[in-house]
Subunit: 447 residues, 2 copies
């Protein structure tokens, strides 16, 4: 009978930092990760396999990080949890006992119940190295690729698949804009221009009604009547929590999000079982409404909470802020917290400040590019609730300044007095620094 | 008799944002800037005139920003302030009345009382376009340049003057390392390696005792007895507040720093006169000791406080954090708050967390570079008091995340749970994100 202090089921963006956090906070406890994948794809890197990075084996999370933190690793599948006995059973019947269990079972792609969805050359985006290799093989022969869904996965796949290939790429998106769940219309319009400039076709306000073909896909039929030629289809319409094991074990699962219900300590309905990452139900930093966000960065934060709490409730989840970024056509797009549209939808009275200007000073410094920043504040409290950035790559870390401001509940006044490090080769001038001036513009709007 | 609501004396990194802030916060008030320079050099851009940017006229703060904000501009020199009458007199005898006055008179370079300091081809770094053009002219003919002082100005001048020129550049620094006032020894060592790799000679622990020559400089003599050939010398040993006008007007000036004494509202000893930027005495965010920091970014923050307070005390100076960055040999160096060495010197008991890792994920993404991060926390309160970063350009904005954390007095626990936006093309992976892991390492060190 083999017992571990902590067993983590799942070994990706949630499982790894959960295990590392246990080892950092409880250095005398032993930890076992059980995962079913021989190799783990970096989740956010998956689209880049098909262009910039070149192959699935160049997009792996190295197991060295586990060795370094003295975490045991087992490649296997867990079949059942015996909560009374505090044990888990592998597919091969082997049984391991745990003191504490962390579920980090992730998500699986949503496959719509469309006619033709099972045709050959129709792919979803599974985090499975062999499956992802299969997509790459097929892509080398594809002439007409249709991507269903213009969210992050959809647009990033479109751009990467379009790189250095003789291929027609079309995105079909239900909403009025690609990325409209994440960004306001102003940023979405710029993003679509970036896609179109690369020759990618973007069809918005369009719903797929059928994937047509015999054995192999031949076309995609839209509600508007249009039919798009396709010898390959990628489904990028989102993911759902993978809660098979949790449900089988009788843990509480949320009906709205489909995720495992956890409290602010990331504890499930069983005191000895914690959960983190895509498989859990989220709580919002802002409202009582649980956001349907699945991000590796959220998973790691939740993992650090779960891992630190297994032997003592030390950390509380402040709720999900939602901070994410992407790059299209060498232009960065980033958001943290609520967009203007979402904030208004949620009923907030807001004030906002907008600034556009260069990311270097003077403008002749190398790497000069424009950056547009919008900050959103609660009109009543003047506390920041969101920010949206697009343009220069500075956005990649500047959005984390915004996230820090949101997390600290800073007011427009505090951000206006924010003390920045600036340098000609790295940032805007201190006179023009975007965040400070956007805060000032929001304050000015109240004068 | 001409009267203005607000007159600002000085039109650089303090004067401009002070005037803009007045206009933003009091849109019905008129504002006049009086400055003596026809054109204003971007202060932090000055070293880049000599390499990357190419000439002083490509490093100017555009006056358009004043027009846009409906600020009047007058090029002239103020000779006296009549505080009873609330008026200022120009050199030509003209008189203007003010309701409120803002002094933003900046600083002037420290010229040591060394023998030979007035020889031809010995330059200090004056923020004067004609003078800076003179340096450029001379530089085209120089063969042996000695830079006295290895602070920011010194090392940036060294690198830029060395670019695309047949020239021997030597830095002479009194301290054990270049940049040692700003960074800990670990970063200084890396910075010096970057300088040396470009063929720049670095002499540390060396003090200049004489600048030798007849009419023109010929060599620089050191206390150690060494003598370095020089046909050009640049003095980069710092600056002192320019308080001539303030002293003449009987405003209180601090004897230690030499700066105009201001309260937390940036008000001088006269209720109708505010001051901001290099000409003022600083207060520290951390201690009661006034730091001798002169940075454009500090100037702009102080200007935004002064400008907002002229007709009502709305904003308080939280004290200077000190956040700055530079680039040497395409490697960024950035710091915010206290370094390990300074914190220890000030008597803090500290804990620290250090992390080194790539700025992209996977490593095959373009722009991949290493980034080393150290965070310093007060051991007792676990509140962050400083951070030092060097490596990838991400440091340029990431240091502003650190500054936001310091400004919000975040604890190591809060930073460990910091919600970041991450993306393969822009940042480290969320598992490896530097700030979060540095905070975790600091927490781990207490277990």
């Amino acid at each position: 009978m083999k017992e571990y202090d902590v067993i983590v089921i799942g070994g990706s963006a949630a499982g790894i930092p959960a295990a590392i956090t246990v080892r950092r906070h409880y250095p005398d406890k032993n930890v076992l990760i059980i995962r079913k994948e021989k190799q783990v794809s970096i989740p956010c890197g998956i689209p880049y396999i098909y262009g910039t990075v070149g192959s699935p084996d160049k997009n792996l999370i190295p197991d060295a990080v586990l060795e370094k933190n003295k975490i045991e690793l087992m490649i296997n599948e867990v079949n059942a949890i015996n909560r009374q006995e505090k044990s888990i059973a592998l597919n091969n019947g082997e049984i391991f006992f745990y003191k504490k269990l962390i579920l980090a079972t992730g998500s699986k792609p949503i496959v719509p119940s469309l006619s033709g969805v099972n045709l050959e050359n129709v792919f979803s985006v599974k985090k499975d190295v062999d499956y992802l290799s299969g997509i790459l093989n097929r892509l080398t022969k594809a002439k007409d690729l249709v991507i269903i869904g213009g969210g992050f996965i959809g647009v990033e796949f479109a751009e990467e698949c379009n790189k250095n290939r003789e291929i027609n790429v079309t995105i079909v998106e239900m909403l009025p804009y690609c990325l409209n769940v994440a960004y306001d219309q102003d940023a979405c319009e710029v993003a679509e221009t970036q896609l179109k400039e690369q020759g990618i076709k973007v069809l918005t306000n369009e719903r797929v009604v059928e994937i047509k073909g015999e054995q192999r896909v031949k076309s995609v039929k839209l509600e508007s009547g249009k039919e798009i030629k396709a010898d390959m289809v990628i489904l990028g319409i989102g993911a759902q929590p993978n809660v098979d094991l949790a449900e089988k074990s009788g843990l509480d699962v949320d009906t709205f999000s489909g995720g495992i219900i956890v409290d602010k300590f990331m504890m499930t309905s069983d005191n000895n079982i914690f959960a983190c990452g895509d498989c859990t139900c989220k709580s919002s930093f802002f409202t009582q409404k649980s956001p349907k966000l699945m991000l590796a960065s959220i998973a790691t934060t939740e993992a650090r909470i779960a891992g630190a709490n297994v032997f003592g409730l030390n950390r509380e989840n402040p709720g999900t802020i939602g901070a994410f970024s992407t790059v299209l056509n060498n232009m960065a797009f980033a958001v943290a917290g609520l967009t203007e549209e979402v904030a208004t939808e949620l009923g907030y009275s807001i004030i906002k400040g907008e600034i556009s200007g260069p990311n270097r000073h003077p403008g002749g410094m190398p790497g000069m590019m424009n950056l547009t920043v919008k900050l959103i504040f609660n009109k009543e409290t003047k506390i920041i609730i969101g920010g949206q950035l697009f343009g220069a790559y500075n956005a990649g870390e500047m959005i984390n300044v915004v996230s820090a401001c949101i997390q600290s509940k800073m007011t427009a006044e505090q951000i206006a007095l924010f003390q920045t490090a600036t340098h000609p080769a790295l940032t805007a001038s201190p006179i023009a620094y975007h965040l400070v001036n956007a805060a000032e513009m929001a304050i000015k709007s109240t004068k």
